[in-house]
């Protein structure tokens, strides 16, 4: 087959056009989904960071979101472990936060994944709602004990990401 034959070129162009079109359609789908969340830009950042989002339905997008919560949770746990060494005075509160983020990563995330795969999205919503609660509880516990929180950014990100994913999951109900 000659690569320069008109037929080949036409087919290739058509294929490219199709791919472009469907990518644009996927992009539109992702954008519309994110518009329904409290932080559309954050939502786009999370979803587009994963190449699989291009071929995803709503459940898959939600699963990508839950994976982002998991990643952020693990990152925050690592941060807490480091803070325990550098800020030993904050240890009791940091211990509480560590448990809170453990609940997120080892209870809420697996539960949400299982629920999304099984079609019982409401349990996934509960899992994401709780993830936000845990991050807020951690942040508050510093204030309540009279400390300035060293993790405000992380807690805020977790809260925001969890709320975005929760909003995506609600669209499944």
């Amino acid at each position: 087959m000659k690569y320069s034959s008109p037929l080949t070129i036409l087919t290739t162009l058509l294929l490219l056009h199709e791919t472009l079109y469907s990518t644009m359609a996927d992009q539109k789908f992702i954008e519309n989904t994110c518009k329904g969340t409290p932080s559309p830009n954050l939502c786009l950042k999370i979803l587009l960071a994963n190449p699989k989002s291009q071929n995803s339905d709503l459940t898959d997008l939600a699963l990508i979101g839950v994976a982002a919560v998991e990643d952020k949770g693990l990152e925050t746990i690592r941060q807490i472990v480091a803070l325990k060494r550098s800020r030993p005075k904050l240890k009791p509160t940091l211990n509480y936060c560590e448990k809170a983020y453990h609940a997120v990563v080892y209870a809420d995330v697996p539960s949400s994944n299982e629920a999304l795969r099984g079609g019982l999205a409401k349990f996934a919503e509960d899992g994401m709602a709780d993830s936000a609660v845990e991050s807020q509880a951690c942040e508050r516990s510093f204030r309540e004990h009279g400390w300035v929180s060293p993790m405000t950014d992380s807690n805020k990100v977790m809260n925001d990401v969890a709320n975005v994913v929760r909003a995506i999951i609600r669209m499944l109900l």
Partner: protein, 667 residues
């Protein structure tokens, strides 16, 4: 995982001492020479003495620890007195939080208090389909063994003679087939005319498709139904092509149609319309989808746990499938969208297979709810033993997952409630805790005609208040009572009113449960009456969690709804308090609210009970009865020790007698 809440009374707590070897020596034959027996069989005397001594000490300890009643309420609390309303402050600040709230952390002690005592809790669980079979009530519940969070679900199993005292049995069904490897989900039991029992349940397959499977008891003559067999023909029903493979679950109990077929209902959805579809079967193995749907309601989303049963004004309980001229049918569904259980009363035509609501304005999913608090995935079953219909529901936690992991459990069942058509209104159901719960009442306290003027707060001295059954009646000005009517067109909205601290002309007034002395934590259960522009009064019944705890990571919603009050009726509520769960029933169960509360200070001895009237314009007279509720509280375990104590006494004396005998024989 936390061990079960209370020892099973049918199997009093076994002590390990009973399993020990007491060194029993058989009676000696006097004709045989003593020497060989002595060296061969007789244990040494010091050891015997030691064992007897230990037994005696153990017996003594058991008797003391078990039988002494430990006084738990503070003897310094004064007898009920009215606090000066002006002192208390006739303003919202009466119930406000003080300015500086101390820092708070969940301790094990605070978390341990939360475990309920007379509600069903096997650990981490979701619920399922109860049934009465061969003298036992069976509860099969959705159980997540791995963690106090939803996950891989199996069927937990417990049995009871009275639905109050439970015996836990092994897991009934595991995720051991490809068609339920991702979850053994909700199902229903149908009892066939020959008293055979079949179960149809939803399995989540290895591809997460929702299918219906058939199972039956491995041994039908086993009243405990311990072992189950899954039919090799499973799955017997797969989702029709026109609905989503993950929107097909929770089959109902089946009933016989006039054509002699078994009919059951499954809830599902098409776009945003919730629907209930019908299947007919002869053998529970092959099914015909009926062309007409039982019912549908636009905009309600997925219908889970559909329930369908007959009611009538004459009968308190009817078996599924009963039809007749005076029979109405209740259609109920759990709305996936908003996590609430809705029901509607209407008429079912067995020939057409259609059900039509009496009032389309309060159709399924948009009208009445079984319960206006936390109450989901409920199911009824017909109790042929006592000819009543009983309702069970799953009550989840509303605290943080972190707390659930710490305390080791999550979720419980509400108390079983009888459900029947309200004979007076005909337009709503009545729910009431089953009468068997009356058996675990004790320590009655009665208060007659306590006058509550505007701004009153009256502490009630009833002893410990974490486990209470309270029945209270309020009498108001006749003018108002006569004006109360069945609420029509008023939105069900306690949350909109703002809670018990917001004062109105005619409310709120009621009880404060799980309240500490300075009221930094309290849970009001109350009525408030609202008069609309036409002068029509509506009565709201609410439970307010906004000040139930100083902890910030717990739900603080205000739940409730309007409640129909008929002319001349006093306002009445029954409140069941069981640690972190509070259930309220207004007007004999016309409106019910289940609440989860997680106080940090109003616990153990600090939990108190108050009457209050925060209305500005009416004086209310309250009469109430309170009972302590309990299966085995820490202080009432005395009689459980009686059995083992007696056995220890007998053994002790036997050992001593044997020893004495040996001494006699040798000397």
């Amino acid at each position: 995982m936390r061990s079960q809440t209370s020892p099973d009374v049918e199997n009093p707590t076994r002590t390990s001492l009973l399993d020990a070897d007491y060194g029993y020596v058989p009676t000696l034959d006097p004709t045989l020479p003593p020497q060989p027996q002595e060296t061969r069989q007789q244990p040494s005397k010091p050891i015997l003495l030691l064992i007897s001594g230990l037994l005696a000490i153990g017996l003594l300890v058991a008797l003391i620890v078990g039988n002494v009643h430990i006084e738990t309420h503070d003897n310094d609390v004064p007898s009920p007195e009215r606090r000066n309303p002006i002192e208390q402050g006739v303003s919202e600040k009466s119930f406000g939080l003080p300015g500086d709230v101390p820092p708070f952390s969940w301790t094990d002690e605070i978390l341990a208090w939360q475990a309920p005592v007379f509600h069903f809790t096997p650990g981490k669980n979701w619920m399922n389909g109860p049934v009465f079979y061969k003298g036992w009530y069976h509860l099969f519940y959705q159980y997540s063994p791995a963690a106090p969070v939803w996950g891989l679900i199996v069927w937990g199993h417990a049995v009871s003679r009275d639905m109050v005292h439970w015996r836990h049995l092994p897991i009934a069904m595991e995720t051991d087939e490809w068609y339920d490897v991702n979850g053994v989900w909700t199902g229903s039991t149908t009892i066939l005319p020959n008293n055979e029992l079949v179960v149809l349940y939803t399995g989540s397959t290895n591809d997460s498709v929702q299918v219906q499977n058939l199972a039956y008891p491995a041994n039908p003559s086993d009243p405990l139904l311990v072992n189950w067999v899954k039919d090799p023909a499973n799955p017997v029903l797969v989702p029709p092509k026109w609905i989503n493979k993950k929107d097909f679950r929770d089959p109902t109990t089946a009933w016989l149609t006039p054509e002699g077929k078994w009919r059951m209902v499954i809830g599902t959805k098409v776009n945003k319309t919730g629907i209930a579809i019908l299947y007919d079967t002869d053998d529970f193995k092959s099914y015909e989808l009926q062309d007409t749907w039982l019912h549908q309601v636009d905009g309600t989303g997925m219908w889970e746990c559909v329930d369908f049963f007959p009611v009538s004004k004459e009968d308190d309980g009817l078996d599924t499938g009963v039809i007749g001229p005076d029979i109405k049918h209740v259609l109920k569904a759990s709305m996936d969208d908003d996590r609430c259980d809705y029901y509607a009363i209407g008429n079912y035509n067995p020939k057409t297979g259609k059900w039509v609501p009496d009032n389309a304005k309060i159709d399924v999913g948009i009208g009445l709810r079984y319960d206006y608090g936390i109450y989901y995935a409920s199911k009824t079953f017909y109790d042929q033993n006592k000819k009543r219909r009983v309702l069970w529901s799953w009550i989840k936690e509303t605290d943080s997952e972190n707390s659930d992991i710490k305390k080791g459990w999550a979720s419980l069942m509400a108390v079983p409630r009888t459900v029947a058509l309200d004979p007076l209104t005909g337009s709503n159901l009545l729910q009431w805790p089953i009468e068997e719960l009356d058996k675990i009442r004790s320590d009655l306290n009665e208060f007659d005609e306590i006058k509550l003027e505007p701004g009153s707060l009256v502490p009630l001295d009833v002893g410990p208040t974490s486990q209470l059954d309270i029945m209270v009646e309020f009498e108001l000005d006749k003018k108002i009572t006569n004006g109360l009517s069945v609420a029509a067109g008023v939105p069900y909205n306690c949350a909109g009113h703002g809670g018990a601290g917001v004062r109105d002309a005619f409310g709120p007034f009621g009880l404060l449960v799980l309240a500490n002395q300075n009221l930094t934590e309290h849970t009001p259960t109350y009525f408030y009456i609202v008069k609309d522009k036409k002068g029509v009064y509506s009565t709201f019944f609410c439970i307010d969690q906004s000040r139930s705890s100083i902890a910030k990571d717990v739900d603080k919603s205000i739940y409730g709804s309007t409640v129909p009050v008929l002319e001349g009726e006093k306002l009445s509520m029954r409140i069941l308090v069981d640690h972190s769960i509070v259930e309220g029933y207004a007007q004999g169960g016309r409106t019910c609210i289940t609440s989860r509360v997680y106080p940090t200070e109003a616990i153990y001895d600090n939990a108190q009970l108050f009457l209050f009237n925060n209305a500005t314009n009416i004086t209310v007279t309250a009469s109430l009865k309170t009972w302590k509720m309990g299966l085995m509280t820490k202080n009432e375990s005395g009689w459980v020790w009686l059995g083992p104590s007696l056995i220890l006494v007998v053994v002790f004396f036997f050992v001593v007698w044997t020893w004495q005998n040996q001494r006699k024989n040798r000397s």
